[in-house]
Subunit: 334 residues, 2 copies
């Protein structure tokens, strides 16, 4: 298929009748090259079908233009939306993204990060798996690679592994207040792995607002899936008939609960209110349309792209912790 080896700058130099240094300068758009020469070189490159070899260039320079993206659960739309937004924003800035899904497995994560380091990524964006992440981050720190924890703060060393994420705590505060404002008397919190950082944060605002209102909280922690939400719809109806509103850990749980309610013939909206978290794209399409805390993960992705590129190219180290604003999108489910 490939009849001849790929042309190099030497081939281009020959064809254009210049030295290879000159070709290299053209490649870098150096102003030190006469316009006419530049034309000749570009022309020769086109004729030969020359393609730049970044790996070779990278051996002399530093920045390979490759960024490692490590995600705990790529099947969850929340993370997918983030990943695609980040990838596209980085591509605009000339970076390619090496991706890995760790499926919430810290071991897999350590292995994939190791492979990426060998592949010469220049920086990492990680939404870490819960669990023992020491191996993962130790090897990154040893390699001295700019790295951000996003969406979840799992490693405490945020001075060297800065964290950025939506203000989950505020989100649950707004959402809970909204439910009370709409007349809810007994609000449950459903879903989220018990004890995990994000669960804590998404529960804090809820507990805070209920506390202030003198209402006893009702927490049904568990998984973060549609199936769990569906199951809890039954449990709530059966074991907690007085509960008239639910703040779900995320939209998947909330959408599952919507399904469960439809299935049981329980009306959602005025009587029984459901609020989700994340505002993934499906939320607006559900019936009833789901009220949700918008984390705007697409714009978050663009922000992170800018942040990591600034770190890489201008040594601007991000603050240890950065929270982005969230807002409540009110729809028919509440």
């Amino acid at each position: 298929m490939q009849l001849t080896r790929r042309p190099t700058i030497i081939d281009v130099a020959h064809k254009a009748g210049v030295s290879k240094s000159t070709v290299s300068l053209v490649l870098q758009n150096s102003p030190a090259v006469r316009e006419e020469t530049r034309q000749q070189v570009r022309h020769a490159m086109a004729e030969l079908g020359y393609v730049y070899n970044r790996a070779a260039a990278n051996m002399r320079m530093s920045n390979a233009g490759l960024i490692g993206l490590v995600i705990n659960d790529l099947r969850n739309p929340f993370f997918t939306e983030f990943a695609t937004s980040l990838q596209m924003a980085l591509s605009d800035r000339g970076y390619a993204v090496v991706i890995a899904n760790t499926d919430e497995d810290a071991q897999v994560q350590a292995q994939m990060v190791g492979a990426m380091v060998e592949h010469g990524v220049s920086a990492f964006i990680i939404s870490p798996a819960y669990g023992d992440v020491a191996a993962t981050f130790d090897s990154i720190l040893r390699a001295g690679l700019p790295t951000m924890q996003v969406l979840r703060r799992v490693d405490a060393r945020t001075d060297r592994l800065p964290f950025a994420g939506p203000d989950y705590c505020d989100g649950s505060r707004i959402a809970t207040r909204h439910l009370l404002d709409r007349g809810a008397k007994r609000v449950a919190f459903v879903g989220g792995l018990d004890g995990r950082a994000v669960t804590q944060e998404r529960m804090t605002g809820y507990l805070e607002v209920l506390g202030a209102a003198g209402i006893t909280p009702l927490v049904l922690a568990g998984k973060t899936s549609r199936a769990f939400g569906r199951e809890m719809a039954r449990v709530l109806a059966k074991d907690h008939p007085d509960c008239d509103a639910v703040l779900c850990f995320n939209d998947l749980v909330a959408l599952g609960m919507l399904s469960g309610c439809t299935e049981m013939g329980r009306q959602v909206g005025a009587g029984f209110k459901v609020v989700g978290f994340d505002d993934i794209e499906d939320a607006a399409e559900a019936y009833p349309a789901l009220t949700s805390v918008r984390c705007d993960v697409a714009s978050f992705g663009r922000t992170i792209a800018a942040t990591i590129v600034d770190w890489l190219e201008h040594q601007i180290v991000p603050p240890p912790e950065h929270r982005t604003a969230v807002e409540l999108i009110v729809r028919n489910s509440s």
Copy 2:
């Protein structure tokens, strides 16, 4: 952060008291190195925190261990499930995946593929955007990189750009037959961009079975989103009251239609039947649970991983076209 430059095989060689060739041989697990020497070298590597530099190695060898994955719509769970499955399978075989979402834009696709070639990917897996893909595939063919079209056959040169995908045509055949078997009298086909390859295939089996049964088809082509499905639920009820069953282009359309029906108070199941396509994870969680054509894209991802690695490592070129079996998963929506 990085106090000293990364150690190289020379540093390791010094520390272990051998030549750098020996270190290189250890790295490749060559049997030509005495066990004792190997131990010393490994020990030195551990002490220095040596990490292998693939980019450097790749300059002498060929296979960089990087594979480019280009996807037309990563926000669609069908493609996400494929991408994650492929990534994880390739990682098991020692390959890293560079990913790009093209958002159905052929220009973006050409640009991202160009960037990946520069980054030295050794092969491509592409679910191509519809449109003018000549630029994309020409540059790949020029570079002589093993490349498969998956899920969609957009470029006709399948001898050099082999295609693999589920047997969509058979899927729609089975699904349509199922609807007729269940007593449907008037079956509509809803969704899918008119004229696109996958839409054609998913319609062929439908048209074929209806033709054989002497039933007039009813095709409402359009988008591939939940929103479109929801809208069509209304249109069907209003303009085609005799229509008692729908085969949807994909699960997103079908789930949208389920939402739309719930919204209008139209019962789905015995009376009005809905079947989706792809069997994404959400299908089973919907209410009513959605009958769908399972493409088993997760196992498809593993198959493709094996195929491309065989091509890369053993020059086993895949057949121009390969179709994987599909099956109908019957649930309550029909």
